[in-house]
Assembly symmetry: C2
């Protein structure tokens, strides 16, 4: 670790006092002083993880290895504003602690995903388009009134990328997680770090211009945006033009599951349009895995097939030689697991251990 023996000893002592590591029997010496073995004690503490979407919420309690101990799901409108939504969050966390029979002092941190751009360093949403009342709201301070622990906030797609990586792709330091649902967005992990950019908007590729989509107006005011041709509402509109009844993203998903031919074609073409932007992202970032998640990805292989078709045609051979384009395996749990790892990473960081040690001493 490049640390002096005395530094290691001091840190181990703090971890032992906090109960985060436990002695793990003796070990055979390879010469010199017999070594001591220690093991992580993942059940010593718990974190609360919350994934807030536009109209749904998932809250979970996990141990320090990310194992879910209890979970609550609810229909919840983010547009109700921070007072209503964060009151629900606080109540949910109390419920989860009670269900898992853990005292509140076992809670070591909270991680929360929000459906909009977030200034990660301060935990404040910045001009979030679908979150009226939340602009620059100090979410950590709000929740710390109830729970005096570190509260980490991030964008919902970023935590999905983190959740997918930690649970299914731990050895992949360069990946893109693409969420395709009512909107389209990406979480980027490069050099094993979640990339947030200067204002926390990295991965916002729903309004990238797609070749061949000129003239299609987007709600953002530009033409030819990816969301205007390939997100759920655009697909529903496309199906209505073909005289197929489809009002919502869910209707599109249901039609695909029923094998409706028009729906399959519309979703496959959406995959091709998304593939254009993924191909650009692959050239730019050279990931080894692109994960496709979100509700439209859950509807089957047709979206993925369209994406693969264009990515392998348009990206550079060197960048696609070892590239995998796969469906999310964490699925609907990606977000809440990512929120848990956001909290765990912070709780186990040297800075947090140091701070906790001061309060134990």
């Amino acid at each position: 670790m490049g640390l002096a023996r005395s530094t290691v000893a001091a840190r181990i002592e703090v971890l032992l006092r906090l109960g985060l590591v436990i002695p793990h029997g003796g070990a055979r010496s390879t010469g010199g002083r017999p070594p001591s073995l220690f093991a992580m004690n993942p059940s010593a503490r718990v974190v609360a993880a919350v994934d807030l979407g536009a109209t749904h919420a998932v809250a979970a309690l996990t141990d320090l290895a990310g194992t879910v101990l209890a979970e609550i799901r609810a229909a919840l409108d983010i547009a109700d504003g921070p007072d209503v939504v964060l009151a629900w969050v606080a109540g949910a966390v109390e419920d989860l602690l009670a269900r898992a029979k853990r005292p509140v002092r076992d809670l070591i941190a909270m991680g929360i995903g929000l459906p909009g751009p977030v200034e990660h360093s301060t935990g404040r949403p910045i001009n979030p388009p679908i979150m009226p009342g939340w602009d620059r709201h100090d979410v950590p301070a709000h929740l710390q009134r109830t729970f005096p622990v570190p509260v980490l906030i991030d964008n919902d797609v970023n935590i999905m990328a983190l959740g997918e990586q930690r649970t299914h792709l731990p050895d992949v330091p360069n990946l893109i997680f693409l969420k395709v649902a009512t909107g389209i967005g990406a979480g980027i992990i490069s050099g094993n770090q979640l990339q947030r950019g200067a204002q926390g908007t990295a991965g916002d590729l729903g309004h990238v211009r797609v070749a061949g989509a000129d003239g299609v107006l987007c709600r953002c005011g530009n033409e030819g945006c990816l969301e205007a041709v390939a997100a759920g509402p655009a697909l529903a509109a496309g199906l209505r033009e073909l005289q197929v009844q489809a009002a919502t993203t869910q209707d599109v998903i249901d039609l695909v599951r029923q094998g409706d031919r028009d729906a399959l074609q519309v979703v496959r073409q959406a995959g091709r349009d998304i593939g254009e932007v993924v191909a650009t992202s692959v050239n730019l970032l050279n990931p080894s895995v692109v994960v496709i998640g979100g509700r439209l990805a859950d509807a089957g292989e047709h979206l993925l097939a369209g994406i693969r078709e264009v990515v392998y045609q348009r990206s550079l051979p060197l960048a696609t030689q070892h590239l995998q384009v796969v469906a999310s395996r964490a699925g609907a749990h990606a977000g809440v697991l990512g929120a848990a790892f956001l909290a765990i990473d912070h709780a186990l960081s040297p800075e947090a251990i140091e701070a906790a040690s001061a309060s134990v001493a």
Copy 2:
């Protein structure tokens, strides 16, 4: 630093013995033991930095602060292969040491930029399109026959990005450096780290598809690639269609400098096409600065104006609110300075200090 006092003392001792830091007088105590002050000694050692292009080479010797002590420029064809080119490099470094009157034992590391994809961890070029004979050549081992020091290799645009950041944008952790010349490529710095991707091809955006360029064939076999419409040879071809004599990228630059109206319009349109891809990159990475470098950028403001026009129209308001699109200030020195910092960063890393300390002890 989160290090024990004893660890710091041990490291300082190594740095003193290596001559990398020197005592810097006493300091007023704020209570307790009087502190000792140390200062970096940038002239203690030197690094060799080499920027190899398709047909030119720059080699420099710098101190540990990146100050150039001596420099050599030469016309050199990278296609002559590694034996010829690396023999020139070794000779140039010996010349530079002699000119700067530094013994070879003062050389602490070498940094080299190559015009193709590089596997940074091993220093080997991987399938480089314009470098016949170089595929998977072990460049560090080759040079270490002459100079037994660490040799760091990277892509030429990556080192330009690094050189620009360290010398002119040290407080900007998220930037994109775009090189526009005979080819088009980018170096990406996110979270203050140069991003290389899984195979070292990150930033390779010359073959991204541009909206509105359908039907234009690229030498890579696809249509509508950015390079096929906006790199130097494409602009020369565009001018020839307008009955303007222009054979090379240099001819285009000369015409722009002479104020030729057709050339200005062609370059401005190239800026717009490049702007499409930059807009996508801005949405994806949310940098705070986009730097435009390369020989076509040096030809004046028209390229930049075209890029800005499209970026501010097409990127998301949140991503462009604080975005600057600027011309490179490091200019023709960006590459060689970046190669120097690549070597310096390695030489001053804890791992390298540790290794050097073992050889001093």
